[in-house]
């Protein structure tokens, strides 16, 4: 059992932070790696990239958006409750080295995943510019922490309620026009990563993206998370989750993410009715 020791609601309660006791994982985890969580006996295995780890306290932090039955079930867990299973750390860590100027682009809950990577990039001696975006001001998460983790922070909202009115790609274009960037890391919704990669390709800037396909085991056993990268089939759970953004077949990824949309919708609706 893995106890929740801290819980926060963000983004009008649509995004939840859980700090969970998992000492072995906290010891080992590196930025970019993920865990698989299962709430209870009948639960689904849900992969989430860690937003924070504290080896001294023996805890890991995950931040997730409530999008379906499983995350809605996670949301019902309070401080003192347990996840039945937490498995990890899984996947390859982000390759961190001093390369110069790095732009970290985070969208939605991707910002949470970006947080430890941003900090590690800064700690490695890079100049880190951070661009984060959300649909509106209320939905933006971790602004303060991202500010502390980077040298420069730029904020965008789709509706203009805060920061730049528009997409992260607008601000990214500005930055790329102005100065020579050595590396871009983009984590967020698949369309965001797709358009960031498209743009950085034009500027010839190496770009890392972190992918979130559907998974079961997370150890390379089932192949459910297969993605096409540079024309080759890769398993995101063991070959990733980070890949060269210029090589990823985003359209296939978006398509495969829809595999269970009808089942998920049905399951979520039933859960919401029961929960009322």
């Amino acid at each position: 059992m893995f106890k929740i020791v801290n819980r926060e609601e963000m983004s009008d309660g649509t995004v939840i932070l859980n700090e969970v006791e998992a000492p072995k994982i906290a010891q080992k985890a590196k930025p970019g790696q993920f865990v698989i969580l299962k709430a209870n006996e009948t639960g689904e295995r849900i992969p989430l990239t860690m937003a924070e780890t504290d080896p001294d306290k023996g805890t890991i932090t995950i931040i997730y958006q409530v999008v379906g039955k499983s995350t809605a079930l996670f949301k019902t867990l309070q401080v003192g409750d347990d996840y039945q299973d937490v498995i990890g750390p899984l996947g390859k860590p982000t390759h961190i080295e001093k390369i110069g100027k790095v732009v970290c682009v985070g969208g939605g809950t991707g910002i949470a995943v970006m947080h430890p990577i941003t900090r590690a990039m800064k700690d490695a001696g890079n100049h880190v510019i951070c661009i984060i975006g959300a649909r509106s001001k209320d939905l933006l998460i971790l602004e303060d922490r991202m500010k502390a983790a980077s040298h420069e922070l730029r904020v965008c909202t789709d509706d203009g309620s805060y920061g730049h009115h528009g997409f992260v790609t607008d601000v990214l274009k500005e930055v790329l026009e102005k100065e020579k960037i050595d590396q871009v890391v983009a984590i967020g919704p698949v369309p965001m990563m797709k358009f960031v990669s498209k743009m950085t390709q034009e500027y010839n800037v190496p770009t890392l993206v972190s992918l979130n396909p559907i998974m079961v085991d997370g150890t390379g056993m089932c192949g459910g998370c297969r993605v096409t990268v540079g024309g080759q089939t890769k398993f995101a759970c063991v070959d990733g989750p980070e890949f060269d953004g210029h090589q990823v077949d985003y359209d296939e990824l978006m398509m495969r993410l829809q595999a269970y949309c009808e089942d998920e919708k049905k399951c979520y609706e039933e859960f919401c009715i029961m929960d009322q």
Binding site: R45, P89, V216, G223
Partner: protein
């Protein structure tokens, strides 16, 4: 019991006792176990067929060398508790072996009674003894040796790992099993379906080992959560690696990433481990195809095709590139599948998957094959017949064409010698790897094989580990 049978029929006159099972049409719609098991009367009757050979051929065919005439004699005498104890001497997982071992090519294949008629139903009797103990046993445990103070780590809780754990706990060593999944059992829980091996039985066999003192730690991905080196740092004296093969193979044909194309690993894991067949009671979904094609014809393919029927398929077809003669699955599995309505398309292979605008598979294009010269495996190589294309409509494809070596653990362990396919190289007599105090066995050494061969490998390793812990490397 013996008193009731006043006039015993001659041993040779007793026919092999069939095991009653669910009607094919009924069982194809549920996940309950197919055979019901023997009654005590039937078991005794079947046990009477055993000749009690002085030099039993059957034992030589058993990878874990069970005293087969011994346990059968005890069933014949109605000593069911003693019978299970006799089995436990050599096998910690009799309820499982009685169900999934390919007895026809092992013990029963060599049975002397079988030379002139049907062999003694050794598997059914083993199953009976284990099931009877589970239902009526006292819960008394077999004796274990005094503690040696030595610690063994077993990586993987499949049949190889559980055998090592059972053997070494009995010899007085401390044993901890590390399992990556959230439930122990390996392929026994994620791979083999409920209707062939109820998960309750696996749980009870694992529980039996736990009652003997084996510790089982789930959610431990050795190679990620903890490394082999760290296990030694934590005070383990020996490590056994039995992580299985566990790397799915997909046929490299266009459209292979369409939605609705599963590896057998994924399909079976969703259904068996995650209980997707009980969705939405369980949260994990699974695609329920109406027209299902399973590629391959091994036991895993049979399990997949039969699962598809139970999940509501109107057609469940097996497409296999060789002919019926080369089918690698057990005859009994093929028979069960055909009885339930699984259709076979022999000598055919897909060349292309067809999808709709949402990226879902809607069919496949196949080519017919003919058999040519024997290949490296000794089987005749399938050769495509030009211009023989045909289309099969399908909304679910399960690729069950074998697995490769999962590199997660082997790549994260320095200095472990692998063969060219990525499987761990071991000394065949001891199952020692080239790394000191590290053994390996099961599919990660041999590639995809059977439960009992993995158990046999576990037995060899356990003996060698015991020698090492007693006398040194």
């Amino acid at each position: 019991m013996a008193e009731e049978v006043t006039k015993k029929p001659k041993r040779e006159k007793i026919p092999r006792q069939p095991m009653p099972e669910q009607e094919p049409k009924v069982r194809a719609k549920n996940f309950d176990e197919v055979p019901f098991g023997y009654s005590p009367e039937t078991a005794v009757k079947e046990a009477e067929r055993c000749m009690q050979c002085k030099k039993p051929a059957c034992v030589a065919g058993c990878p874990v060398e069970i005293d087969i005439p011994g346990f059968i004699k005890l069933i014949k005498e109605g000593e069911f508790t003693k019978s299970i104890r006799k089995l436990w001497e050599k096998n910690s997982l009799p309820a499982i072996c009685g169900r999934v071992c390919p007895q026809e090519i092992q013990c029963e294949g060599l049975c002397i009674v079988g030379k002139k008629g049907d062999p003694v139903a050794i598997g059914n009797l083993e199953r009976f003894a284990a099931d009877h103990e589970r239902a009526h046993g006292t819960g008394a445990l077999p004796p274990v040796a005094d503690p040696t103070g030595k610690k063994v780590a077993v990586v993987g809780s499949g049949p190889a790992g559980l055998t090592v754990a059972g053997d070494l706990i009995a010899k007085g060593h401390e044993v901890t099993v590390f399992e990556a999944f959230h439930k122990p059992g390996g392929v026994l829980v994620y791979g083999i379906p409920e209707f062939r091996l109820p998960k309750e039985i696996v749980a009870q066999e694992v529980n039996f080992l736990e009652r003997l003192g084996v510790k089982v730690e789930c959610n431990q991905v050795v190679g990620r959560t903890i490394s082999i080196e760290e296990l030694f740092e934590d005070g383990y004296d020996a490590v056994f690696i039995g992580v299985g093969a566990g790397l799915p193979t997909f046929l490299n044909v266009p459209g292979k990433n369409l939605i609705g194309i599963y590896s057998a690993n994924e399909y079976l894991t969703r259904s068996n481990l995650m209980k997707a067949y009980r969705f939405p009671e369980y949260d994990t979904p699974i695609i329920r195809g109406k027209n299902v094609v399973t590629l391959g014809a091994g036991n895993v393919a049979m399990d997949s095709a039969r699962t598809a029927l139970r999940l509501g398929a109107a057609n469940s077809r097996i497409v296999y590139r060789r002919s019926r003669v080369e089918v690698p699955a057990r005859a009994a599995e093929v028979h069960h599948a055909e009885e339930e309505g699984v259709e076979f398309f022999f000598l055919a292979a897909p060349t292309k998957y067809l999808g709709d605008d949402k990226g879902r598979v809607i069919g496949m294009e196949c080519l017919k094959m003919e058999l040519g010269e024997p290949d490296a495996s000794g089987r005749r190589r399938p050769v495509p017949i030009e211009g023989s294309e045909f289309e099969l409509e399908c909304d679910l494809v399960i690729v069950a064409v074998g697995t490769g070596a999962n590199p997660l653990l082997t790549k994260s362990t320095e200095g472990l010698t692998l063969n060219k396919w990525g499987y761990i190289q071991v000394d065949e007599k001891t199952n020692k790897t080239n790394k000191k105090a590290v053994w390996a066995g099961g599919d990660i050494v041999t590639g995809s094989a059977t439960v009992i061969l993995a158990m046999g490998a576990g037995r060899i390793a356990a003996n060698s580990i015991h020698d090492y812990l007693t006398w040194g490397w």
